[in-house]
Symmetry: none
Subunit: 249 residues, 2 copies
Amino acid sequence: MNFQKRKQKILEQLDRTGEVDIKELATELDISEITARRDLNQLANDGLLYRTHGGAMKVDPLAKPKDFANKAAQNAGVKDDICRKAAEHITDGDIIFMDCGSTVFRLCQFIKHKKIKVITNSLPVIYELQNCSVSINIIGGEFNNERQATHGKIANEHIARYHAGKAFLGVDGISARGLFANSELEAEITSMYISQSAYTYVLCDDSKVGKETYLKFADINQVEAVITNADDGKLAGFKDTALTILQVG
Amino acid sequence: MNFQKRKQKILEQLDRTGEVDIKELATELDISEITARRDLNQLANDGLLYRTHGGAMKVDPLAKPKDFANKAAQNAGVKDDICRKAAEHITDGDIIFMDCGSTVFRLCQFIKHKKIKVITNSLPVIYELQNCSVSINIIGGEFNNERQATHGKIANEHIARYHAGKAFLGVDGISARGLFANSELEAEITSMYISQSAYTYVLCDDSKVGKETYLKFADINQVEAVITNADDGKLAGFKDTALTILQVG
DNA sequence: CTACATTTGATCAAATATAATCAAAATTGA
DNA sequence: TCAATTTTGATTATATTTGATCAAATGTAG
């Protein structure tokens, strides 16, 4: 029983009962109390639970804005797994880009407590990260109501003025041949994110893996890592690429 | 039963019945009276309830600290009058700037149905105008949580790239000698709005008229009109200026 | 106002949880 | 395989939480 596995079980029970107890946890997971404590502390540090004396409680479920929440809720379990993994790669002091997809949006909950700078064109992300330790830089430009984000020439130029250590991006399709998008606007801004960040993570669930849709906008070697729940079979195509693959679930 | 959990239960009961009693609390939560007292004291200290002898009462929900909505609600009647008048000057096809003050925010309700472009640095304005006939251009840059808006160098440069027919701005003070602001950030972005618009309306209630506070950032002849509820006496100082004065109320 | 009951805060003691330190065990990478 | 690193657990010291007692403050009734 390693840390990752315990983490899952703890979060699972927390989700079910709303609370956990150090002593019970130690018994159930067959670990010492101090290890249980260490686990809880780490999870609390990642903002995934509230630490209490002798245990922990579920973190407040927050009211999600508008219908975006519904779309974001589709496949939420998998997306959360992906984002939890992504959050492990974000540390205090980081400057990161976040794009406007529903997957990337779910990353917010895991980074709220971190002392980082987020540059984003996504209104839901902005909304979610106000009033917390994250400092926000809004990408200006024409606002697209459907995507709840800014896009276009001015937005692209805005991004071009910044550099970030990491970018966390969603795509509509990814294969060994490159990254694919369903719209030009989306493709352009994603390209810009990639070019202005030192290290790019692509976040996508298995439905996007192997999919080559509409518009190819980047080669696979332009991004550094993909975080996904796809299985080895689906990922076999990436064998010959330099891509770092982070599997979850 | 730890403090966090008791806190939940206490606040829950408070919300239901409006009050709690030390003795009952001690029995129900199976804690000593002194612990119940300590809990109530701490919650009172956090402003979550009113401490009374022998128990506690629900705190007045209207007395919550100033979030933007409340601030915007202060003096709402007057501000609405001012904004209603301002809206009369906005017609389909207009491109307008709106700044991030609480007065200008109330203009939103009167322009929702209009077919115009709004360029703004105010997050509340953006929220208010989504999903309606107004097309939005967001001014990018670093987000200031207190003001719920973007400010700074990049924001100013963003504005510099656009021109609008009209600007609707709030100020912290206005007199025949010029416009005044309580912060440099605010002053700079307002100056930029003025210089990039053909016609500038200043929206302010009578408390701002004649007030010369902190930082003067523009001469009075740089703006074209002021919309206010101030009376003739307060406005007498503007007699010798070219300013168009639109009185309401 | 006085007398009485109740509530309260302070102090202390006991129980419990936590952090710190260090050693053992497991994992990792050559 | 061995050495280095990480993870885990035992021990001890520290901190927190809780409850009991009691004097002081507050509220109530006459």
